[in-house]
């Protein structure tokens, strides 16, 4: 495969809590190809954002191990100057909360201008301004000349997210990381922003890592999906395989939690419990075991590995073979109904 843009091998990102390091991203290996949308799905706290920040080298106090190979260079603990050059030019990032991601004291035009200036300091001010206006047009801002001089608080949530996107694509990045780009927006704006990202994907031909917990977004956008749980990838497959034939209990539980119009359910499936915190995470055995207690212990592997069950479809642990959804007891049904 020579169209691989980014090759990640055994990435481990650990944070220090008191005197010990705890891995938030634990032994993640995957490839990002050119011109594809790779979705990373998981609950809050599953390590998705920590993973994205590791690629960009944006963690200030984390221990990062493993390899992130980009154009023949390993980005893990790479030279700070080299990372500075990559960030914002070859790698762009779209943030979740556009209001807090923009500097409240700078007009938005100047903030996009800065992104261009940092990588092309020789371009004249007037030319940069033209480029900013073009970018604003490209992301669908109605009156770019006026918006250029507005402050973030003067814009709506959707407009702000467009500004953040304009900033991320200002230097035609080859890799675009979108960290929950639609989470903070309401539904109609969400679909507009998703359409915009799709459109951009076709024009800038970047590899896109889309981080989300919204499987609806995944179904609409992704080419491939990696499901993350407690810092590990538990299943990875192309979008059709994953939607048609999900295997890992976590993936199946997530998909089962989505309400559909086609089928009338009296109650929604809820995954028991929460993602364990970093310090309380079991480091041996199947990490999902505690949330499917009705599955017998012998179904899990002692040290779960990713198994390729069909071409390009990997599943961690063997418990998927024995997994079933529990029948709800009468008591639980009543509880939900009330």
């Amino acid at each position: 495969m020579n169209d691989v843009l980014l090759e990640i091998k055994n990435l481990k990102t650990s944070f220090r809590i008191k005197d010990d390091y705890y891995a938030a991203v634990d032994d993640v290996s995957l490839n990002v190809r050119k011109n594809e949308v790779l979705a990373i799905v998981g609950e809050s706290g599953s390590g998705k954002s920590a993973f994205a920040f590791s690629i960009m080298g944006l963690h200030t106090r984390a221990k990062i191990e493993g390899e992130i190979n980009y154009k023949g260079n390993n980005l893990v603990n790479a030279n700070a100057n080299y990372m500075k050059q990559l960030r914002g030019s070859e790698m762009g990032m779209i943030f979740q909360d556009a209001l807090s991601a923009l500097n409240p004291l700078m007009v938005v035009g100047a903030q996009i201008d800065e992104a261009i200036f940092l990588h092309n300091p020789k371009i004249s001010k007037s030319l940069r301004k033209k480029q900013v206006i073009n970018l604003l047009n490209q992301v669908g801002i109605p009156r770019p000349e006026k918006t250029y001089y507005q402050y973030p608080h003067e814009l709506s949530g959707g407009m702000r997210q467009r500004i953040v996107i304009a900033m991320a694509i200002s230097n035609q990045p080859e890799l675009l990381i979108a960290d929950e780009p639609t989470t903070a927006l309401d539904v109609t704006i969400q679909s507009q922003i998703l359409d915009l990202i799709k459109e951009l994907k076709d024009t800038i031909h970047a590899g896109i890592i889309l981080i989300t917990h919204d499987l609806g977004v995944v179904a609409e956008m992704a080419d491939r999906v990696a499901v993350m749980y407690a810092g590990q990838i538990v299943e990875i497959a192309d979008i059709y395989t994953l939607m048609e034939n999900p295997q890992h209990p976590y993936t199946r539980s997530l998909l089962n939690s989505i309400p559909t119009l086609a089928e009338v359910k009296s109650d929604l499936h809820v995954i028991q419990g929460v993602v364990p915190s970093l310090q309380n995470l079991p480091r041996t055995g199947c990490r999902f075991a505690s949330r499917i207690p009705w599955i017998k212990d012998s179904a899990h592997e002692a040290s779960p590995e990713l198994h390729e069950i069909s071409h390009g479809h990997f599943v961690r642990c063997t418990c998927y073979k024995d997994f079933y959804f529990p029948e709800k007891s009468e008591e639980e049904r009543n509880y939900v109904a009330n």
Binding site: K84, G88, F95, L102, P104, L105, A115, L118, M167
Partner: protein, 320 residues
Amino acid sequence: MWKLIVRRTLITIPQIIVLSLLVFILAQAMPGDALTGLIDPSIDPATIEAMRERLGLNNPWYVQYIDWIKGVMQGDFGQSFRFKMPVSDLIGARMINTLWLSLATLILTYLIAIPLGIISGRFNDTWLDRVITGYTYIGFAAPLFIFALVMLFIFGFQLGWFPTSGSVTPGTTPGTLEYFISKVNHLLLPALSMALITTVSTVQYLRSEIIDTKQKDFIVTARAKGASESRVYNRHVLRNSLLPIAAFFGYEITGLIGGTIFIENIFGYPGMGELFLSSISLRDYSVMTALVLLFGLAAIIGALLSDIILSLVDPRIRIK
């Protein structure tokens, strides 16, 4: 924005009226009047009473207030009982001295606070930060008048680097360079003593603002754009952190008033603060009243400045 500034300025008018009323009522509440202690006791009480009537001291308080405020607006604060000269002449020269002292203190305060706050905030929890926060704790704990005495003792008396009292060497002619240098020399020690203590709150404030700002999402955005660390700090962290410091500026002026009262007395510096304390101990009422009014006015102007500065630097406050 101009609208906001004009509106904010208009608010000071009722503030000033209330201030002048309070000052006047407080002065009235003090026992005795202008004639009680001034007059030879052998004079016939009927004459004194006639004099009271003639001076308007028997008028109702609001009539007296209006008489007084009319005078104040023309710069007439009455006569000093101690110096036998108009209060305005008495305060005039001292006000200039106090203004210079305050200005020097303000400049030194920020010269100390901004670099220390930036270092402490940017490199928080390093030994450098611990040294700086240690200094701020000492500054908070040390009373200004004790600290000033220690400074005076060490640098004025022991080392002899600075003059120990006055505002200028006697005999120098105003307007010459020598006069100016002598002025600055007299200012430096009191201003530095005050600045070293008053600056600690600004250092701490700036430190916590920077620590707060550098964890904000837009700082991550700036890094993700490819900005260098120094650019991140100079362009993004600093401007956002200086905002509340700028807003604090006006209140710094209020704080200075209290400071100058102590400092001028300890350093024998002929300013308003020194005049204020000696007027209290000698019951020089007309001088006291005038000074309280001026101090109050300075506080009101300080608050006004704070709000105007904030509206200039923070786009979120500008009202359309």
